[in-house]
Symmetry: C2
Subunit: 355 residues, 2 copies
DNA sequence: GTTAGCACTCTCGACTTTAGAGTGCTAAAA
DNA sequence: TTTTAGCACTCTAAAGTCGAGAGTGCTAAC
């Protein structure tokens, strides 16, 4: 279905207009706004054909035409101008990145706030899974006779901890011993490698003291298995109120409920997807996102699994701009974290001396 | 302004009705729904007087009457029936409390989810400040030559940590030494007591190694000073869509923006307030909460400062029910945590042997 | 293939009408 | 003095009417 250049031109003009001014547009209006070399009647004919092809639709007979989801799809694939970042936008991100925030979660959150501000849409972030990380450090700290803190540090510098309350008192010596054993056997392994067999190995060495062992090993597997911690960060949800397409309260509520429950948006973000994915309406695969478009970017944080960052807006989204921003941002995030990762590996090698 | 019993009865009936069916109610309708011993004309007269007194208002001349904020205030203070928890509600909370969640944040979050479900309103939680906690344990863990993890545990079992990246490599021995010094000088102190002078004391002892010291001491003060960590937990914000009083999109957006920014709701929750506070409309003190009522409960977590838990709903809130739930929940939270706290102090005393 | 012209369609806002709920007032009853 | 029946009056909300305006599709001429 190769579209004639003129049809493409007309489709592009309609969508460009519609993105900023969401009202069905007629042949005359289009002509009055743009310098096309033909008359309104010709445009009318072209538009009728574009409608037959499924790229445009009329809300009713005597109205102008609006893009369909298929129209947007074609626009995204073939028509929209290549995204360009403005100096302001790049600057806005850089200023966050230059703050030298050491906590990855915070950094990504701050960037999301910026992204949501710039685009005026909603941003959702799924942080990388920790499952595939390798363990850089593990330590048990006896706090008192019945409380032990377990601290784990991944290669990427993510620290996880938990206070474990034991049923019966245990001497610190035993804790220290277990701590050393865990260090000897687990440090340097990726989480995939800390399998049941290794844990059982430890269990046999420490056979005397099951009462510490059970919760400790429980926590380790919890950190790396459980998705609980993987909550979604949301920013700018209230932005969508701006758009007339969300003036239907019932729909808005369904949408909000979807975001709020976090389950839905989590599973949406967890789906495999290319580095940059644009999904329009039903393409999202969720009833609640039927009236939305999303631009999802994947970033990599060291050896961790992919993190995801999605911009959610109306289907008449400014695709060019959003794709540009998401692409830029995830790229920068990945390289920054990649650099850190290399740095850490270097360090870890140096460190070997101490052990 | 002592109201006659009959006026009180009529006001109560109107509000009881209005809470579940938010339409201005007229004398005849009221009579048809309830068995009052007088005619509609009498009720009409009483209602006219209640309006003069400011307890009721008419949207327009020929409509029924609806409660004013003053009316709700009187209702809350004098009319509503004492709150009773249903078996289901108590059971719902107990099932969460019995899960033995060790992380306080999670526990309070789960309870908020239950509270929001039961009430159908929005719940906001401000976690206790950590500032007043006493330090049960502090430890520096060298991870490699340039990375140190600092771990702090409060009396309540709250664990805080951070990975500190140093500009230059430092031998683990030095880290261990600093760790011991911190332990000797800081453990057991309340955070108020870890003043600048004590920190300077440490600085003089460790004069040689400023490069570790600065970020470590920085983190300590950050943990206990900064409000950053005190983010607000929100649950059930989308519930409010149900209510016809929120069908005005612009208002809804302002409200959502308020919740989302977290600044506003944080400062709202930070205000001093009695154990249970009911605020109606303007009483909330925030423009964005002008159309809402809030029931705020304070709970205490060990020696920490107060945590706050607020139910936010329309002004025609089911006050009796909500007050009962908030009261019950904050009480149970406080006692549970109080018990834990005693337990911990016991433990800490026992522990003294080890040091 | 393109365009001017024209009859036709449909929505949206403005205006009108009407049913119904509710009121306040008055005068009679308790 | 308080309560009540009765009634004229008020106001809204929903339904109906109407005309302007934007846009279309078709036809015939360029």
């Amino acid at each position: 279905m190769a579209l004639s250049p003129r049809k493409q031109q007309i489709l592009k003009l309609i969508i460009d207009d519609y993105i900023h001014h969401p009202e069905p547009i007629g042949s005359k209006t289009l002509l009055s706004r743009h310098d096309i070399g033909v008359s309104s009647a010709t445009i009318r004919n072209e538009m009728a054909e574009l409608e037959n092809l499924g790229f445009l639709e009329q809300p009713h007979t005597s109205a102008g035409r609006a893009p369909t989801h298929l129209g947007y799809r074609f626009y995204v694939d073939a028509l929209m101008q290549p995204p360009i970042l403005t100096a302001y936008e790049a600057e806005r991100f850089s200023s966050v990145l230059n703050e030298k925030i050491t906590n990855h979660d915070r950094l990504v959150e701050q960037l999301s706030v910026a992204l949501s501000e710039i685009t005026g849409y909603t941003v959702a972030v799924l942080r990388p899974e920790i499952k595939k990380a390798y363990l850089r450090h593990i330590e048990l700290l006896p706090i008192d006779s019945q409380n032990v803190v377990i601290v784990m540090v991944t290669g990427e510098g993510i620290v996880k901890n938990k206070l474990i309350r034991l049923d019966m008192g245990i001497q610190p010596q035993i804790i220290y011993r277990l701590s050393r054993i865990l260090q000897e056997r687990l440090i340097g392994l990726s989480m995939a490698e800390i399998s049941l067999s290794r844990i059982n190995e430890i269990r046999s060495v420490m056979s005397t003291n099951h009462s510490v062992l059970a919760p400790v090993l429980g926590f380790i597997s919890e950190v790396f298995e459980h998705e609980d911690e993987r909550d979604v960060f949301l920013e700018g949800a209230s932005n969508l109120f701006r758009f007339p397409e969300y003036s239907d309260l019932a729909r808005m509520q369904a949408f909000y409920r979807f975001l709020e429950s976090k389950r839905g948006i989590l599973s949406f973000l967890s789906e495999p997807s290319p580095r940059i994915r644009v999904a329009i309406g039903e393409e999202n695969g969720y009833e609640e996102l039927r009236d939305c478009s999303t631009v999802t970017g994947t970033y990599r944080l060291g050896s961790l699994s992919a993190g995801r960052l999605a911009v959610i807006g109306p289907t008449r989204m400014d695709y060019s701009k959003v794709v540009g921003l998401v692409d830029y941002l995830t790229r920068r995030l990945s390289t920054i974290m990649h650099r850190e990762e290399e740095y850490n590996e270097q360090e870890t090698r140096d460190l070997a001396r101490y052990y």
